[in-house]
């Protein structure tokens, strides 16, 4: 314990804080708590309401549930094929993460380690998509999926999500891969490893923090995506959670309690993924090439 605090001290003297000798810890702590409450407030309210029975939600202002009940969760899960939506979202998010990470890692390695004719051109073609507004894509992607018979298909959404996430992930990973010393790789190659093996066995393990970050971004993007899923999906059994959740909000009657319970269930996985990867990726990732 004593050793540890000593270590902290020496680190602090090596690198003074942003606020120098007056860190204003107490003031910043109060502000931090206020910001956290502001950010989480609406979500905590949602959590609270999810335990309030439906009849008590209609018409009255509810702050704290008067008769807490878990019935909303039971009903939300059993009705409206909610489990189905959950499974669809999980499949789409996982498939998108796996394919995006695989394709982006290979491409990023190519860009980071090789000099070849057309490298700049291809890289900037990728990068240009960061400036391509989504507004350009919805209609032609719908027509394209129609032509490919991938409308109303989970695989179709996976392909669209992969394509839209790829460029930024290539950009992030390229910056990270370029910072890995070349000598590691050459040593690996002396042992006769193929390029694919170098990526899988050397670059990927060394880049886990960056890959965790990329996975988190991609997972939450695919998990939450709304406009494309709304436009492409037609059959209720193929709905993802964001589309399926709208089922609870009817034209005339709204099952608010069930909607909030469903929303809590839909929000938990992405928050868990975020918290897990946040722990992982803290060591050394300062958003790749962004700085």
């Amino acid at each position: 314990m004593a050793q540890r605090s000593k270590q902290n001290q020496s680190r602090a003297s090596y690198r003074p804080g942003l606020y120098g000798t007056r860190p204003r810890t107490r003031l910043r702590l109060v502000l931090a708590i206020a910001l956290a409450l502001l950010s989480l407030g609406p979500l905590l309210y949602m959590l609270m309401l999810s335990f309030q029975s439906n009849g008590d939600i209609q018409g009255e202002v509810v702050l704290i549930p008067s008769h807490p009940t878990t019935s909303n969760y039971v009903q939300a899960w059993s009705e409206n094929s909610f489990g189905h939506y959950f499974a669809n979202s999980l499949f789409i998010a996982f498939a998108t993460v796996v394919i995006t990470v695989a394709l982006a890692s290979l491409a990023a390695f190519g860009f980071a380690r090789y000099k070849f004719p057309g490298r700049e051109l291809i890289f900037y073609t990728f990068l240009a998509s960061l400036a391509i507004p989504n507004v350009l894509l919805l209609i032609p992607q719908y027509l394209l999926m129609d032509r490919l018979h991938l409308l109303d298909s989970l695989l179709g959404l996976v392909l669209l999500y992969t394509s839209s996430n790829l460029p930024f992930m290539v950009f992030l990973l390229r910056g990270f891969f370029a910072a890995i010393p070349r000598e590691y790789e050459e040593a690996f190659r002396l042992d006769g490893a193929s390029t694919l093996r170098v990526v899988l066995r050397l670059i990927a393990p060394l880049s886990l923090p960056a890959i965790a970050l990329v996975s988190m971004f991609t997972f939450s993007a695919a998990w939450d995506e709304f406009p494309l899923a709304l436009t492409m999906l037609d059959t209720p059994s193929k709905f993802t959670l964001p589309i399926g959740l709208s089922d609870f909000i009817g034209e005339h009657t709204t099952a608010w309690g069930q909607f909030f319970a469903g929303s809590v269930i839909a929000t938990l996985p992405v928050v868990i993924v975020f918290l897990v990867t946040q722990r992982w990726s803290r060591s050394g990732v300062s958003l790749g090439g962004l700085r």
């Binding site: 003074p16 910043r28 910001l35 309210y45 070849f116 291809i122 032609p140 050459e186």
Partner: protein
Amino acid sequence: MTTTTTLERRPAAVSLGAASRRSGHWQRVTRRATPYLLILPALVVYAVFTAYPVFRQFEISFFNWHIFPGASNPFVGLSNYTKAFEDPNVRTAAFNSFLWIVVTVPLEMAIGLFAAAVLADRLPGSALWRAAVYIPVVTSWVVVSWVFSYIFASQGGIANGVLGFFAGHTESIDWTARTWTGNGVMWLLTIWKGIGWAFIIFLAALDGVPRDLAEAARIDGASEPRVWSNVVIPSIRAAIAFVTVMLVIGAAQTFAQVYLVTSGGPYNSTQTLMSYMRQQAFIDFAFGYAAAIGSVLALVLIGFSWVEIHVLRQQDL
């Protein structure tokens, strides 16, 4: 790991030289092809599902496009564009999209930077506070749009409850059914969900601010606001520019909130360009017209990014 560190000491040039002497013609070919093979899978997906649709959108915008099989799609030149410029709904939507940028982007950036400043240095429980500020970013638009709709509901909404309690306001306001209160609710929602994204970029940028320089300025007697305006802000200029570009592009394409909270109503008065475009395409099936609206917005945004990048290059960032 131990083997890599011992091997690493060998001079790299020698090992490469030995390898190339051994390699024949075939190996040189595969070596040349390697980077292309690595990039190919990503490039194919990107070309088919992102790059090709971009060109297709511009093409569609010159036709009176129908989705129905067997329908003829006559070429109509620029008439979709002239129609868009005369459509009063497009004018309203463009104005709303512009307001969206002007209202939400500065507030998201200011609060995001403030949060980053609060949490930049070590603080008890800082991982928790950082996670809390970022979590709204990973929530789904569907969930938070309805939560905000519920907070501002005419019956049982907490907003009306608070007004009634503090201001004695007994008349219940139907926030999301009116133009300006509806816009206000959606702006509030957008800002709330956008702060965390600006925050995380600014947090990373503040990490790179030279502490010694800030400390030196303080020792020279600079006040805290001066330290920020003369040392901190200049050294995170690149991040500020990046966040501005990305948030503006995002705000100009607002769709989900509008679709979910007000559905663009009453009478299309809260439509944004993107929500109006989607309505034209997938409710009214005017694909060519919708594509023209989207293309105009996209050209404006691409022009904006180009100018921004150009300015950044000149400033040598």
